[in-house]
């Protein structure tokens, strides 16, 4: 008999290029009795025999699971590795919360800096918000200072000051004028007096 095909399949199997169907053919082929296999291929029999679905769980396992499950319909069961067959739980909401194990999670090493990154990020956000709010607050406050009434009062004040200044300037002018007038009249007096006094 020609076993070329089987040999081909075998080499494809070891190269991991065989399809599922081809692997099933190999399994079926090596499931034959030893005597029916050619001597050269007999050595591979245990290899495929070892891949058979051997280990099973008994019916007592079914009973246990079903009783746990019917218990769990009322109360929530949290299967715990260390506490075997332990039925824990009171709140039914807990059933849906524990899904961390469903998503395969890889453990990774986190440096101190990475660990504090969320905290630093939060701090940065708070700092930005505080800065912005202070800035906005300040600008609002500046606007508030200059209401119309204030402005009017300010201008009135300015006007009053200006008026006062003008008045002062006038009076200074008048004063200086007064002085010059006085000086003139004094001079005139002396002028008047001198001739008379001189004549007398």
């Amino acid at each position: 008999m020609d076993y070329k095909y089987i040999e081909q399949l075998l080499s494809r199997y070891f190269e991991a290029t065989a399809s599922l169907k081809e692997e099933q053919i190999l399994k079926a082929f090596f499931a034959q009795d030893d005597e029916e296999l050619p001597q050269a291929l007999r050595q591979y029999k245990p290899l495929f025999e070892a891949m058979e679905k051997g280990d099973v769980l008994g019916t007592d396992f079914d009973d246990r699971i079903l009783s746990l499950v019917s218990n769990a319909s009322e109360r929530c069961v949290v299967g715990n590795a260390s506490k075997r067959y332990n039925v824990v739980g009171n709140a039914s909401e807990r059933c849906s919360t524990d899904d961390s194990l469903l998503i395969p999670q890889k453990a990774r090493i986190i440096s101190l800096q990475e660990r504090f990154r969320p905290l630093l990020r939060a701090a940065a956000v708070v700092a930005v918000i505080l800065t912005l709010s202070t800035a906005i607050n300040q600008s609002f406050r500046n606007d508030n200072v200059w209401t119309d009434e204030d402005q009017i009062a300010h201008y009135q004040d300015e006007i009053r000051k200006a008026a006062l200044a003008a008045a002062t300037a006038d009076s200074v002018l008048l004063y200086s004028e007064g002085i010059s007038i006085k000086a003139d009249s004094l001079a005139a007096d002396t002028m008047h007096l001198a001739p008379t006094g001189y004549l007398e």
Partner: protein, 173 residues
């Protein structure tokens, strides 16, 4: 979802889950615990069953992750227990007996031992492919790795077993 559909869709997966858990933990008792834990977890999420494409893949994924967690926890507690156990088993495979049947049985035991001594990923890939006959795509989903990585793991596993098996066949028996 009802208890009836749990009975028909989930419970029959127990042996498949058990074999996977066993391949990962290498311990019968632990594997049984893990299957129980897996089933209770699946039951507790019964509201989501309608959204699940394949109940089998869903259960296998949970079982795979629980088993890996258990192994990780165990190795942290006792790093030597697994080794000593597998060494004990190895001794059986060298009890050579002149009778053909016994020889074949020893060889079978040896292949099983070789499988159990493969690196974890290769072991899981081989279990799902060679024992359970799963497509590469499903294995990739269950293990959360790429299809290419699955193929590489299976290739390495088969090469190792072939090499060691043939070697042992030459000198051991």
């Amino acid at each position: 979802m009802s208890e009836a559909s749990f009975r028909t869709d989930v419970l029959p997966l127990k042996n498949e889950l058990f074999r996977l858990a066993m391949r990962i933990t290498l311990n019968r008792q632990d594997a049984e615990d893990i299957v129980q834990e897996t089933m209770l977890k699946v039951w507790s999420r019964r509201e989501q069953w309608a959204e699940i494409d394949s109940m089998e893949a869903f259960c296998l994924t949970i079982c795979h992750n629980l088993a890996l967690d258990r192994v990780k926890r165990m190795s942290r507690q006792t790093s030597t227990s697994l080794d000593s156990e597998t060494h004990d088993r190895a001794d059986h495979s060298y009890n050579s007996n002149p009778e053909e049947q016994t020889v074949q049985r020893d060889r079978l035991r040896m292949v099983r031992h070789l499988m159990d001594t493969l690196p974890e990923k290769q072991r899981i890939c081989m279990q799902l492919r060679d024992v359970e006959g799963k497509p590469y795509k499903d294995i990739a989903t269950i293990m959360a790795i790429t299809e290419q990585q699955v193929k590489v793991n299976i290739f390495r596993a088969r090469q190792t077993i072939k090499k060691k098996f043939i070697e042992n066949d030459k000198y051991g028996l």
